[in-house]
Point group: none
Chain length 204, copies 4
DNA sequence: TATGAATGAGGTTTCATTCAT
DNA sequence: CATGAATGAAACCTCATTCAT
């Protein structure tokens, strides 16, 4: 029982890992099943034992990714629609991104591919749902942009800042702070349920 | 003078147009030369008369795109490094995007492809240069994020807001406003060369 | 004793049934073991417990089919070579087809496959033997055609008449009648051992 | 200008010839494009220059085959619906089969394949049309069988008689004669428009 | 009696590219 | 300025088959 035959039921997992790695690195179309198989030291046919098609591999990755997002959405829908909730939503989202960095990078960099990938639609819907949870129903155009930018900046942030020096965790916190500011600015006091001690006038 | 013989010599341009359209719609890898040729009602071989390789087509598109950016960089480098310059830089950049929406969409959605496309590097460098022009040399991490987000939001904005109703030009202005705010926030008075008439206190 | 555990030991039979069904429906090559296994809700490997190869499955079907034919041949060879015997041979053959309709349909529609299937040769030989039992040794070319057509019509008849309305059993009888006529015509009185009461002259 | 580069525009034809040969010999599914290409000493990709898919090759063969049949149908539909017309129809059909022997053999032996080949339906319809031209509208079941058998015997005849010695043309004539007899028997005098000099009584 | 995991060979198809005309 | 014909490489996928458990 050496090293290579002991891998019991973890092949499926290993395929997902390698696939994600390569998809993120080179893109979905440019990554061939041969490549994945070679890196795993199995045959292409073995991949097809675990996944019915190439698309199936990526779908399985998406599913893993979407679960936490769905939970987040469920949570937010059960909360009062206050600024605090929105800020917390952004915070939690930022955190869940941390564990799925590669996949988010993949999606960010392969939107054209993702778009017609069936499941891509599902992801887009979730983004729209999050967006709907961040913005007020009657928000002005600028505030809509702020909310969208907040979400996008969290997605794009990590790899857009690869050339910026610094501790990854610090970067994430900086990104989170900017996103939070955007959301906060998009929910001005005048639009929030009035509070007696807030006497500010809305910015024009 | 029918419809099909009037196109004299403009074939090269037509190839670029159709290619960009398809690249933006489906991605670079998923768009085949056959498809481009068919839509133009010429043969694949005809494409090779005008472009040496498939990559050459995309390179030519990049070159057209980069020219205005280079001009913008040249202009900015000749200006004083004030907040006003930065705001104007953002404004001008936003405007030049307007005419190259498809190509920017393509780049935004096909980063993985663009990345190892030789010319992709060139584009990235230009982005870094713009970034360098927006941020102060000793900017804090948060302010770096603000500058990057400003740039990104302009790229991503247009198609991220496809499902938002409204006049495109109004949207662009909203995006520009948010980007400007981000840049402004990233260049707080305390960091700018002090001016006698600015009495604001820096935000902590 | 649920539904799925009652099948004790009859798996082999069930494989044959499903395989025949699919072979007849789609052809041998186009039917994969995966398909058979799925329809049976077992794994492909289970098929290999019961049959050594895919061809083995079809061979086993042929063997079941050939047994009655062999009995028929044995019977016919023990009879006097009269027209009555031939007519009875056709009648009995028609009857034995009834219970193997699917397999005959398969053979009729997949001759190209059957041809190089080892056992296919065996079937062809049996057909030639039957043919030899129907025709007179010195039969004219036309009479040879009649005999061959008689056999073929019985094979092809059933599914060639799928779009003809009517009771299956009635159809079979009609086919049998035509086949009998052909055999009768192929064995004219002049060639049969003369009988005192038959005064017909041979047809030109 | 040797032998191998002079083949100007005949490649398409050569593909059809070789494909038909191999399809008839081994069946459609068992014949790979590699095989066809190798026999032609071209690459597989060359086949795809001339035909969009493997199925396309066979479709083109069918089209060539169907043309004469369609002409025959058109002709027959313009004739009076007499026994003589039907006999002539059979005669002409037999003749047109002569030049398409391989394709008919292919169809006869690969019905399962042909069945779901789109164009297969078209062929079946033509057969039904021919059948409808041979039989009287209110024909009895037995007469319907006779007409079907007449058609089938012509299809199957040639290769079913491969082991029968004799001149091919003589064989064809013998088959034609049997087919004609079947059609004649299927159109008894009592069912034909009465003619003053035909005093026969109908057979029961 | 059956399964889970894997393989090797081969299938059809598509692609970017070339070159004589 | 463009085409018709072809190529070589590689893509995704399927199949029959094996074997340890």
């Amino acid at each position: 029982m050496g090293t290579s035959h002991t891998r019991r039921g973890n092949t499926r997992q290993r395929i997902q890992d390698v696939a994600l790695e390569l998809f993120a690195e080179q893109g979905y179309e440019k990554t061939s099943l041969r490549e994945i198989a070679e890196r795993l030291e199995v045959t292409k046919a073995a991949l097809y034992y675990h996944f019915k098609t190439k698309e199936d591999i990526i779908i399985s990755l998406f599913e893993d990714l979407c679960r936490p997002i769905d939970e987040l959405i469920t949570w937010a829908e059960g909360q009062p629609r206050t600024l605090e909730t929105k800020q917390e939503l952004v915070r939690r989202y930022s955190e869940s991104l941390r564990s799925s960095e590669a996949l988010f990078r993949f999606m960010q960099e392969n939107q054209a591919t993702v778009r017609d990938l069936t499941i891509g639609q599902g992801f887009k819907e979730r983004m729209l749902t999050l967006y709907g949870l961040l913005k007020e129903p009657d928000a002005e155009l600028v505030d809509q942009v702020r909310c969208i930018t907040a979400l996008f900046s969290m997605h794009a942030g990590m790899f857009a800042m690869q050339n910026v020096v610094g501790d990854p965790e610090e970067k994430r916190e900086a990104i989170l702070r900017v996103a939070t500011e955007l959301v906060t600015a998009a929910n001005p006091p005048s639009r929030r349920p009035a509070r007696p001690d807030s006497a500010q006038t809305a910015s024009p």
